[in-house]
Assembly symmetry: C2
Homo-oligomer: 594 residues x 2
């Protein structure tokens, strides 16, 4: 593998030059004193740790975790890297100072996560505590909160999210894990959860499981589900005491992300603390889920960036065949493969997704900060609307783009990409999970089109589109914004058409949803690339000393509009073709070939 | 895993009802007595062996091959299955009777290969002998031919193709393996070959390597390459004698297809037999390569079919959530996921590619038969032209469609698809190699657009398109042929435009080639689906007793035209956008993000 380098220059571009984070931070009382210089200094420090200690463990991850009688051992170096990471205080970065945190914004947490996320297996082991903390802060009694939160903030303990059961993934209404009230006011949990990331490991002394279960006598379906905290070891006076009734029964053998332990967790009369009100567990979960979904979108960016760096280095070094327009390396035995147009097509696709995805995530980070810290209710409401709309797109589209990018990185290596040595095949295998967990692409697509667009009468969409239209109006003479304007009008039109059809046949939503969310992803990324090109034009007009950097932004944006955005045409045609070509087949007709 | 069933009914449809193999066989003197009944009886017999003994080893393949001091052990059961296979005489199926074969046509060999190909790792170990035999038949002296061919025909020995070296894959002009003439008229080969499928294993007593090397003093580049046969064990009086100087140095650790040994082969003064004339090795290789390329396209069909069968069974059994139009399984806890439109979209995509790819391969098989066995030079020339045009499309498009289908099969399983248990993730990993070996998609795309279309002034393309136009003219009132006609005219127009642009800038070929080959693949498959729908309409009009089967063909064809063919629009836009958006970036601009 070529060494991974954190894209610090591009972070600066994305967060400060493009997304105007300086003004953004100043607009939020809580973060108004956080200067761009401090932000960059934190990134630099973080990058050293990630480049030096976390990403070099990437290929170790493929050793996989080992399970033995309920004990899970993580790959070589993973545990030690976490301990140094937690000791350096990084786990507490985005918690408020009164909780013992550094008081930094979520957006910065997300920005740093892109770096460690290049080793996503390692990253996946430590992130749910942050995602789940709001449940403790908002729903738990002070006693329960204080039992768990401080140790999660310091990183002494980590957390899990326990939702899925063998017979229920998407359809949580079917879950069976039982909670019986105990005399001391706590509960006793019994049941089996599967696909639990980091359910058991050797990183920390204790693990706090956030578990969905049904209190005895609760209604069936989703309205009878409650949220509980279940520690691996019971806690007495803030310290680890005896073992609780929760054990890792096995770990899954998976396609990739092997350094991340995916556990079967058996709860057997485990002591559990109710979080919030009985039967309101699903709402609590959704809060956690939204942050996990943006995180999974970010995972796509991480795979795209890692694969891209590998492929771009390789394409400049690997000598094979000659340019069709004459030798570019006449003294060598062949030209570097970067001379070939199709290799450039593959590289630029990866670059457009990695950097475009980064812009998308930085935009979402800004919205999350506003929801968390703005004192203006209108700003909060606007940010919430945009986030509701963008979260499923970020999750689905960026995870799909991550898989495509990781696959193209392999393709740039030719046959060498298929063997383990270069790490690009591992990156691809690791990437493939992202379109499945935290709600598949299909589930995100239904959430987007059914709930966020059609049921909301496009209100959330309008909040986002207003920003896009403003940009287009302010830059009416710029070719890329003209093209952006056309695609956004088409997007609105499609939303209206499908919405209209769905009133007659609800299956029209499901039939259009995948193509709709892909169209949406391409349109959203086009908005960021148009903005990026405009900023770059401005910098070049001002006489920047970094012309090649900004010029590359304009060229990548142009590539994106010319060659990637074109895919929206096929998605539009497909979604307009209606539900009948899917629903007309009888179930039996799917298997008549024998 | 669900049990694989050979799609015998669909074979009958594809070969006899659609591709009119009865007339086809009758038109070739060599095969005129081969009746549809015999063909089907052979398939049934073959299917029993494959279903019973070969596909059940599929998941064993993932154990991988083991290398120890030059000896390679294949996964549990692989060797025994091969021995039974060879003993039953199947390896000799498509050799002429005077060579000791069964005298069956190549098309039937291809048809059977789809079945064993579902376990592609196993299949990959045994197929190169057949592909390489023409080199022995056409180029070798009788002495050399008789030394190797009879044992290859019986399957007592198998063969390999040794082309790639560490520094040269695509660019064979760079190869360095040396051949020195020896006093006895043979040669001594020295060099290292990599990525050699089945370079070493335990299936047979001997292995015959077909090796490209440079005779001392030969010109550099591709015009100084010769083809040699190098046995693992020297041969005396037709029997295995002492060990030759060729050893497997190691096997690759790969993403998938682990049951297929990918070997580093070290040749050290190995006794080698020149095949054909010195310096004409590349031409000999291309004959072998074309058959291997159709085979690799077929590999895509195998992955699509296996994944589809798994996903379709799962989608009918897995209960999760309710249909948006009301419960379809009201007595159960949820509906089977096949009720969801997006699951159907994924299943129909796989079905359209598996069956569409099967039609494509059956069409190619017919052309191969004509080239091999027609006594009409015009028929041969027409078939050769079509094959020249279709081979890169079959290789590139069907391997890409195989990867997409295998990925969609995972997606239908949700998170369960990512774990090893169901075999669908292995199928996906196995599929991924097919767009890389035997010439990457990018290389096929250049071959198609540069050599087969533009350089040939579209003559090969016209030969194929004439068939398509004939169909469209004969069925002017049928909606699908109307749409086919439109897409084919667009395809011709694009070919002309890109050809014109390329005279000014040769990079326009490379810049358009990927989108062009994908467009071509969609158009070719559309032709077969339109034909399939017409045959099905006819059968239904005649009052068939199998209406659901034929009706499913029409519905799948309609789905394909509505939702898959729509992708051509984006490809057209992308290829017309020109080379500048790829070539404008300076090499350094690809890596400025740090």
């Amino acid at each position: 593998m070529y060494e991974y380098k954190a894209p610090l220059r591009d972070f600066e571009f994305t967060y400060f030059e493009l997304m105007e984070y300086e003004d953004h931070l100043k607009s939020l009382p809580k973060y108004k004193d956080l200067t761009p210089e401090t932000w960059k200094a934190i990134l630099e420090e973080y990058a050293k740790l990630v480049e030096g200690e976390i990403v070099p463990l990437f290929q170790n991850g493929d050793q996989g975790c080992k399970w033995e009688e309920g004990v899970v051992t993580t790959p070589t170096g993973f545990r030690e890297a976490y301990q140094r990471y937690a000791e350096a205080g990084w786990q507490s970065m985005a918690y408020d100072e009164e909780l013992g945190g550094m008081g930094l914004p979520e957006s910065l947490y997300i920005n740093t996560m892109e770096m460690r996320g290049v080793n996503w297996a390692w990253t996946s082991m430590i992130g749910f505590g942050k995602a789940a903390s709001p449940i403790l802060m908002d729903n738990a009694t002070p006693e329960i909160r204080d039992m768990f939160l401080p140790k999660i903030v310091t990183g002494e303990w980590v957390a899990t999210m326990c939702l899925t059961e063998p017979h229920c993934g998407t359809d949580l209404g079917m879950l069976r894990t039982k909670a019986e009230p105990a005399a001391d006011g706590t509960y006793r949990l019994t049941g089996t959860k599967i696909f639990i990331t980091a359910g058991e490991h050797d990183f920390t002394d204790n693990i706090v499981h956030f578990v969905l279960a049904r209190i005895e006598g609760a209604p069936g379906g989703t309205s009878g589900i409650s949220m509980f905290a279940v520690p691996k070891f019971n806690v007495e006076n803030g310290e680890v005491a005896d073992r609780n009734g929760v054990v890792c029964g096995s770990i899954e053998s998976k396609m990739g992300l092997k350094g991340s332990a995916t556990c079967v967790m058996n709860f057997d009369d485990a002591k559990a603390y109710l979080l919030g009100e009985p039967n309101k567990g699903l709402q609590a979960m959704f809060a956690m889920m939204n942050s996990a979904r943006i995180g999974t979108g970010l995972q796509g960016v991480c795979h795209a960036e890692l694969g891209y760096q590998q492929a771009a280095h390789y394409a400049r070094e690997r000598l094979q065949s000659r340019s069709l327009t004459g030798p570019k390396n006449p003294d060598g035995p062949a030209d570097p493969i970067i001379v070939h147009p199709d290799v450039r097509r593959m590289l630029l696709t990866q670059k457009a997704f990695a950097e475009g995805g980064r812009m998308f995530v930085a935009y979402c980070g800004k919205l999350v900060d506003r929801v968390n810290a703005s004192d203006d209710p209108e700003v909060v409401a606007n940010a919430q609307a945009k986030l509701a709309f963008l979260t499923p797109i970020a999750k689905a589209f960026l995870s799909e783009a991550g898989v495509e990018s990781a696959s193209l990185a392999i393709q740039c290596f030719g046959g060498h990409g298929y063997i383990k040595e270069w790490g690009v095949e591992q990156n691809f295998r690791d990437s493939r999970i992202a379109t499945l967990y935290e709600g598949t692409t299909g589930i995100q697509a239904l959430d987007l089109l059914g709930r966020k667009v059609v049921a909301a009468n496009r209100a959330f969409m309008d909040a986002f589109v207003a920003d896009v239209e403003k940009l287009c109006e302010e830059n009416q003479d710029y070719p890329l914004t003209q093209r952006l304007s056309a695609v956004v009008h088409r997007w609105q039109e499609l939303s209206e058409i499908i919405g209209g059809k769905s009133t007659k046949n609800p299956d029209e939503i499901g039939a259009a949803s995948f193509d709709y969310i892909m169209f949406s992803g391409y349109a959203v990324i086009a908005y960021y690339w148009a903005r990026a090109a405009l900023v770059a034009e401005q910098k070049i007009a001002e006489g920047t000393s970094e012309k090649p950097f900004y010029d590359a932004k304009i060229k990548t944006a142009t590539f994106y509009f010319d060659r990637i955005l074109a895919r929206t045409e096929g998605h539009a045609t497909a979604m307009l073709s209606g539900a009948d070509n899917l629903m007309g087949m009888e179930d039996d007709q799917f298997l008549l070939q024998f």
